[in-house]
Amino acid sequence: MSWLDVFRGKSKPPPSAGAAKERLQIVLAHERISRTGDDFLPRLQKELIQVVARYVAIDPKAVNISLDRGGDMSTLAIEVELPAPEKPKPGAAAAKPDELGKPADSKAEAGQKAS
């Protein structure tokens, strides 16, 4: 708190109009794109599952897709939980996406560049 604030009576929160502008620009950039073409994400998800299923038996419910729409870059993360190996070694758990988010073999990541 600066000494001037003593006279103003309270410390001011940072102005929020800048955040409003930035958030709007990002969300509208994406909404304008999806307005022209149809939304491809559901199809992408379905086809990716089909491809993975060709190589390993997976439970379609153990597939996690998340999207982060950014200003310059959007990230599409797809996590596929693979079943435990046939002969489980003692103590080995099923391949779970690790907490630190290091790209494990069980995780496919795709980046989509926003125009």
Binding site: S16, A17, G18, A20, K21, Q25, L28, E31, R32
Partner: protein, 272 residues
Amino acid sequence: MAQVIVVTSGKGGVGKTTSSAAFATGLAQSGKKTVVIDFDVGLRNLDLIMGVERRVVFDIVNVISGEARLNQALIRDKRVDTLSILPASQTRDKDALTKEGVAQIIDELSQEFDYIVCDSPAGIEKGALLALYFADQAIVVTNPEVSSVRDSDRILGVLQSKSRRAEEKKDPVKEHLLVTRYAPERVEKGEMLKLEDIREILAIPLLGVIPESESVLKASNTGSPVILDDVSNAGQAYKDAVARFLGEDRPHRFIEPEKRGFLSRLFGGRAA
């Protein structure tokens, strides 16, 4: 042939009806034969804002269903003789409006009037789609607030794809941005989106900026469109916007904070 103007926004409560009433009255004041249509079936309000609620006999749905002739439903304004109002139905459901029915009404009104102003309901459902379908020009009413700006962008997309002009591949609907409830003091403090930011994001020509003003409530209390209040800043801003619409070049006013004296700053006086 009349020009059809839709006043639209997507988001509710941003000032469409206030602006439709002011704009239609302003056009009529400059000698243009103008009719303003309330498309908000089930939530009629334009009649109150225009101060003609006690004179409503028939409404747009009665005309479409053949229960009344168009001339019986039109209410002639007593203040401006080139102005008429076509009220919405208060009782019927939204399905009572049909594209064919509205087309016929617009067609008939086109013979007699220069401007047909359509006050759209909120949303992007049937009522809003019908209100914008026949438009030649659109006034997109936007508040300096994220959800309003986003919905305006959305409604611009609808105008560009679902209007009759879009469907028939004619020249696109001419778009105008009308920013309402603008509070320069809050913009200066960084609490509210700047006019320049809204213009940059929506990227359509700016028709006017209507300041947040107590005179709007006063006008609706008395059923007199705020543009008839010559001393209010909102009334003057609407007058400017109408003049710009008719081709006049006028500078934008009321977009900077009012300069206030030391005493009024100290005691927190409020702007009218």
